[in-house]
């Protein structure tokens, strides 16, 4: 558990960094006004300035209201969050598996894992859900809409 004040300080710093980054990247383009209006860097540079200003305001606001904001808890390390992080890792691996195995085999692996991660143990229902979902996607997207889902690199 973190409190919102700490989170806001981190967001402010990140906002300042991103705002500065945008200004820096935008300054590589012309900023000056010509007969063709402001240069292509002007608008994004202004957005960078505005983002930095908003981040600064958030920092000052948090400093002024730190006691109130400290009461608001932000759950980031609870077991429920850890389950989400695990799910994120599974999804990241799934993204790799799509390229390696192809979409349908990778999905056949993913669906039961997601159900298992959600504390579901009935293997019969897991199998039925997996098969039905994949058949549905194949029929609707593969056959009806002619979407060529990613193939395995080994097939290619």
């Amino acid at each position: 558990m973190k409190n919102m004040a700490v989170c806001n300080y981190v967001i402010s710093i990140l906002g300042l960094l991103i705002g500065g980054g945008i200004m820096n990247a935008a300054s590589e383009f012309p900023l000056e006004f010509t007969v063709n209006g402001p240069g292509p860097g002007f608008w994004p540079f202004s957005l960078g300035v505005a983002l930095s200003a908003a981040a600064l305001i958030l920092f000052v606001y948090t400093f002024l209201h730190k006691e109130d904001l400290s009461q608001t808890r932000v759950a980031l390390t609870l077991p429920a969050n850890r389950r989400v992080y695990l799910m994120m890792a599974v999804i990241a691996v799934y993204c790799l598996l799509i390229s390696l195995l192809g979409f349908y085999p990778a999905s056949a692996v993913l669906i039961p894992i997601v159900m298992r991660l959600m504390d579901y143990h009935n293997k019969k229902v897991m199998a039925i859900t997996t098969v039905c979902t994949i058949i549905f996607i194949y029929l609707v997207f593969g056959e009806l809409l002619h979407t060529q889902m990613p193939q395995s690199v080994f097939w290619e």
């Binding site: 292509p40 608008w43 983002l51 932000v74 969050n81 993913l110």
Partner: protein, 496 residues
């Protein structure tokens, strides 16, 4: 008349009608399942919309939009868990009627009737008012459009329920993302990180699906860690409202539909506000004040007609001015833009048949919603009980398939996943996803008209405050931006 005939010929194609009915059914299903939302439904089926020819995909999305607002009432009545925020007020009398009075069918029937009436009423208002407003908006030039874009962006403060400053930061990030790719004015390539993938700009659809659908799935996984969702086992009797009920609620129905339509027209509001205001007014004017909270039919009708009436009202600023009022209308506006229909007054001249097709489509969506609501309510009641551990893996799969099928690009899938991961944390930290999406959608409109205005004025900023309409919208935008701060100052002064 020719335009209307063209619109009818666009709509009355079997595939398009099927898309509309499918959209309404899916929308009701999304609305009635707690944890799923209107935005999620729209985002998930957004790519599918482009599989249809012409206006068919837009009709499907219209169906989802209408159906999901109504669907929220089903779980609100049966489970006391509103499927969407717009249905919170429905629980106040809907659940007592279903559970205490043992009349779930009556409650569902009243909500179906009220939702249908509210939706149709507001669509008729849209048909009558939008062309008039569009005529007025035809006088607009680049400075006015820039001011409108700023006004549209200013509603970020209203859609940011967590923190206004974070909402603004999200909107600015959205605006920056809209600058990636080839600059339309100068032809320069900006912020593409030397990849060809970003040359055409940051793809809107993967981000949309990521922040509205994938991030919400991750949030649901966290939410249901401890909580098992409650199930309902009520027997649904007859759902058609009786004449006695109709007489009792008719005035409330009309009043709430007017309130909902008006609130819908105001960018930054939404169904939740409309339903509570309608409920409050119904209670104030009712002869049965004491019965509110105990299963009062007027209470159900007020909130449901109020929140569904928002649908037509919300399309007035979207179609005439190109300003989305909330996340759902931002998605709808994105869909129109991707289909080559740039919302704004010129749409009424250049693509009049399409505009009429949208009007008629919205009207049909509400009628279909009523028909499906009355005839298939027992089926939708079963949908409420679909276990979350079956639902979420299917939705995860749909986010991947939907994203990939739009462009057949695996990079889009990676972008969607990244947006979903970031969106999960941003949601927890009080950022508004709608603000980011509104920023992306209005970004190019704001920049192009800003640059265009300055070219018109030879670089003088005076163009923004010497044109009355432009100044008007900029002042309104400033007031809208500052309204949360002004509101808190007034409340503090009142307390003192």
């Amino acid at each position: 008349m020719g335009d209307i005939a063209s619109a009818l010929s666009m709509i009355f194609i079997p595939a398009n009608l099927l898309g509309l009915v499918f959209g309404v059914a899916v929308g009701i299903a999304f609305g009635c399942m707690p944890g799923l939302s209107v935005n999620m439904g729209l985002a998930l089926l957004f790519p599918l919309a482009f599989s249809f020819d012409g206006i068919g995909g837009i009709l499907m999305l219209l169906g989802i939009y209408c159906g999901a607002i109504y669907g929220g009432s089903i779980s609100a009545i049966l489970l006391k868990t509103p499927g969407t925020p717009a249905s919170v007020a429905t629980t106040l009398d809907g659940y007592p009627m279903a559970a205490k009075l043992k009349q779930p069918g009556r409650a569902l029937g009243l909500s179906t009737m009220a939702s249908t009436f509210g939706g149709i009423f507001s669509t008729v208002c849209l048909i009558l008012l939008a062309p008039q407003l569009a005529k007025l908006a035809l006088q607009f030039s680049k400075p006015e459009y820039f001011a409108l874009a700023i006004f549209g962006l200013s509603i970020i403060t209203s859609v940011s329920s967590g923190s206004v400053i974070k909402g603004i930061m999200g909107g600015l990030i959205g605006l920056f993302l809209a600058t990636v790719g080839i600059d339309d004015m100068s032809g320069k390539i900006r912020f593409t990180m030397d990849t060809t993938y970003f040359l055409g700009g940051v793809s809107f659809i993967p981000i949309l699906i990521g922040v509205f659908a994938f991030a919400q799935v991750l949030g649901s996984i966290e939410e249901y860690y401890h909580n098992e969702r409650s199930e309902q086992h009520m027997t649904i009797d007859k759902v058609l409202p009786s004449m006695a009920d109709m007489k009792r609620v008719f005035a409330t129905l009309l009043r709430s539909s007017c309130i909902g339509t008006f609130i819908g027209c105001v960018p930054g509001t939404g169904g939740d506000i409309a339903s509570f205001v309608s409920y409050d007014q119904a209670k104030r004017w009712s002869k049965h004040k004491d019965n509110f909270g105990n299963g009062e039919p007027e209470g159900i009708v007020a909130s449901e007609s109020g929140n569904n009436a928002v649908s037509g009202g919300a399309f007035i600023p979207v179609l005439t001015l190109g300003i989305p009022g909330d996340g759902a209308t931002a998605i709808m506006m994105g869909a129109l833009m991707v289909q080559g229909l740039q919302p704004g007054p010129l749409l009424f001249i250049e693509k009049a048949p399409d505009v009429y097709a949208i009007f008629i489509g919205l009207l049909l969506a509400n009628i279909v919603m009523g028909i499906l609501g009355f005839s298939l309510i027992k089926l939708f009641v079963k949908v409420v009980n679909v276990p979350i551990h079956i639902l979420l893996p299917i939705i995860i799969m749909m986010t991947f398939v939907g994203t990939y099928s739009y462009n057949n690009s695996i990079n889009d899938v990676y972008l969607m996943v990244a947006s979903g991961f970031i969106g999960y944390f941003l949601n927890k930290l009080g950022f508004s996803m709608s603000a980011i999406i509104i920023g992306i959608i209005l970004g190019s409109m704001a920049e192009q008209n800003f640059v265009g205005s300055l070219i018109m004025s030879d670089g003088s900023f005076s163009i923004f405050y010497t044109r009355p309409l432009c100044l008007f919208f900029l002042v309104i935008a400033c007031l809208s931006l500052l309204s949360p701060f002004i509101g808190s100052v007034i409340r503090r002064m009142q307390r003192k």
